[in-house]
């Protein structure tokens, strides 16, 4: 049977990806350039018995998403830069309380109101370090409409599997461009649900590590009574300031992600086998990079692309391995060097990292990348 296809915007595709993943609750606040997600889900969620709510502000939307997740729903919010800044307080809450949810953040210019309709890739560090305190982050960077759908499904799976908020972060170009999308059949893509407790309610502890670094999560209203707080807490969920325990818990909450980094980090290697120059790119910029790589190959330049699909955790291992083999990295990005810092860290001085940075609201074009390739000695 032929696959169901459509001609959709990235944001619309993400909304359909959320539905495919089993999302049944969305809370949001209108913001350009992500509003289409809210619009589609306000239409589609009630059809499948799900709920949509437009909250009074971005913080409230994040709060409702966490509350809904505790009620047992798979939950989503969508936003963009200024909204992402506002949500940080409660992103931290979701991290420490270990509540699965997905934040779809379309990257526009900044800081502050910046360029609401202009593309950017400058929320990379805001996703990683925007909330205060140490915590693990998982953030995915789609580069196509198809990936907006698929990565949203993947983000729900990761959120459910590791009990934390997960980001999907298209730049504005990917969020708003229209492409052909093939919908996977039900069951074709894996859909994961959080691990529920098997112990009886009176024995349940929401942070009981005897079940591993990701403890089972019960839902409110399912017969289990438990306490959730944003304070550092004991396995039973109640606050503690015991030094040893707080240290161990903080480390566990990072380890639960980092110990499984090889299963989380996703990337694309394009013409890397004999590449002497590697363009490290993501999102819409990777589309310019692919074009530039193809053009350069025609001119006999041995160049390939490492496309970042999971920016957090960063693909350290892969970039480190390449650093020993290549003459140079080229890092085009629509910010002033956020991923470049990470590539430099991983390159450990073994290969120069040549950045191409744009924050003028214009995409990085293939010609700029091609020119940079020619600078490599």
């Amino acid at each position: 049977m032929a696959k169901k296809v459509a001609f959709l915007q990235g944001n619309e595709a993400a909304a359909h990806g959320a539905l495919y993943a089993g999302c049944r609750f969305f809370a949001g606040y209108p913001i350009t350039p992500s509003t289409e997600v809210a619009e589609v889900l306000s239409n589609e969620l009630p059809k499948v018995g799900g709920k949509f709510i437009q909250m009074e502000d971005e913080i409230a939307a994040m709060a409702a998403v966490i509350g809904g997740a505790l009620g047992g729903a798979k939950t989503l919010t969508a936003t963009s830069g200024p909204g992402l800044s506002l949500k940080q307080e409660l992103i931290g809450y979701a991290c420490i309380a270990e509540i699965p949810c997905v934040i779809y953040n379309v990257m526009r210019g900044g800081p502050s109101t910046g360029m609401p309709t202009g593309p950017s890739q400058s929320d990379i560090m805001c996703a990683r370090w925007g909330t205060h305190g140490d915590h693990a982050t998982i953030a995915l960077l789609p580069a196509s409409v198809q990936e907006c759908f698929e990565m949203t499904v993947q983000a729900f799976n990761l959120a459910e599997k590791y009990r934390l908020p997960v980001f999907v972060m298209p730049d504005e170009i990917v969020g708003h461009m229209r492409e052909r999308i093939e919908f996977p059949e039900p069951g074709e893509m894996e859909v994961l649900d959080r691990i529920k407790p098997t112990v009886p309610p009176e024995q349940y502890k929401p942070y009981d590590t005897q079940f591993g670094d990701v403890p089972p999560l019960a839902s409110f209203g399912s017969g289990y009574k438990f306490h959730v707080t944003g304070l550092n807490k004991l396995p039973d969920g109640f606050p503690t300031t015991k030094a040893d325990y707080v240290q161990a818990e903080e480390e566990r909450q990072i380890r639960k992600v980092m110990a499984d980094v090889d299963n989380i980090v996703d990337f694309e290697e394009y013409l890397l086998d004999d590449a002497e120059i590697v363009v490290v790119a993501f999102g819409s910029t990777s589309r310019s990079a692919r074009f530039a790589v193809n053009e350069a190959r025609k001119q006999g330049i041995k160049v390939g692309m490492f496309r970042i699909k999971t920016v957090w955790p960063f693909p350290d291992k892969q970039i480190k391995a390449l650093a020993g083999k290549v003459k140079a990295f080229i890092t085009p990005e629509m910010n002033l060097g956020m991923c470049t810092i990470e590539v430099e860290r991983c390159a450990e001085g073994k290969a120069p990292v040549l950045g191409i940075f744009r924050v003028d609201g214009e995409p990085i074009n293939p010609g700029q990348i091609l020119d940079k390739m020619k600078e490599v000695k």
Binding site: F25, I53, G67, L70, E89, P201
Partner: protein, 273 residues
């Protein structure tokens, strides 16, 4: 036989953090009696709070409890209620938490008329941080950040709730302990967003700065200023000067949010717009 509060309290979580003379414990006991009167199941009752002394209440209660971030209780609770409309959702917190940093969430929860009960313990001060003035600190009062007297006017929490669209608004005081459970019981029974403001005191950070000699003096003030709404009807404006009305101040039947959304689902599934 004495009322068995222990049935609703988590074993091993007492003593509470509240100072001697604080009214929050009186409010918690009233809330427990209301839960008992209504026969609510603990596992089907969510108690959601923000940050502050009053917001520590959920930790002592043997229910589904959610201690959120400062001011955010109403927004988190809205998510819980939407996901689990069959649950009884109670919100608790202080005046600073609810009307300053949480003011926006508060008024919008009122406006939506979502079926939850919000118990605001108004002690006119930020107690946990050491006594800074709140939006409910009376003009002229001393706080750690109003050393020359408070220049700000204060919110009337009940009027704010009514103005924002809450469909059940009541006020009690920590002195009138026997009334608290009755107000909370009616608030929970009311279908819609209910606000119960309980005036209580912070002897530690408010009383001492404002020349109250004892907790008893503060309690007597609550006794003196409270006027039941029925009694107030027979009083002149002069007699009501400096008084506060107590009891059920406002009640109205209006469509409730979760029921309204259930109709949205019906319309969506019926293919109509």
């Amino acid at each position: 036989m004495a009322f068995d509060y222990d049935k609703y309290l988590r074993p091993g979580k007492l003593p509470h953090i509240w100072c001697p003379g604080c009214g929050h414990g009186i409010v918690m006991k009233g809330m427990i009696r209301a839960i008992d009167t209504l026969g609510l199941k603990k596992e089907n009752t969510a108690i959601v709070s923000g940050i502050g002394c009053a917001s520590r209440l959920p930790g002592y209660m043997d229910c589904c409890t959610l201690h959120t971030a400062h001011g955010r209780a109403a927004a988190f609770a809205t998510g819980v209620k939407m996901a689990r409309p069959e649950m009884t959702v109670l919100l608790v917190g202080g005046d600073g938490d609810g009307t300053a940093i949480g003011g926006n969430h508060f008024i919008h929860a009122c406006r939506r008329n979502i079926d939850m009960t919000y118990i605001i313990m108004n002690n006119n001060i930020y107690g946990m941080t050491g006594g800074q003035f709140s939006p409910c600190t009376p003009t002229g009062a001393k706080a750690s950040t109003t050393p020359y007297g408070n220049p700000d006017p204060a919110f009337d929490v009940a009027k704010l709730a009514i103005g924002a669209g809450a469909t059940f608004v009541a006020r009690g005081t920590a002195y009138h302990a026997n009334q608290i459970d009755k107000l909370i019981t009616e608030a929970i029974q009311h279908k819609g967003f209910s606000v119960v403001e309980i005036l209580d005191d912070c002897p530690t950070t408010y009383g001492r700065r404002n020349k109250f000699k004892s907790v008893i003096e503060m309690m007597n003030r609550l006794k003196d200023i409270a006027v039941p709404v029925k009694a107030a009807e027979k009083m002149t404006p002069e007699q009501l000067q400096g008084k506060v009305l107590t009891g059920i101040l406002y009640k109205e039947d209006k469509p409730e949010y979760c029921e309204q959304y259930a109709k949205v689902i019906e319309r969506a599934q019926g293919g109509a717009k």
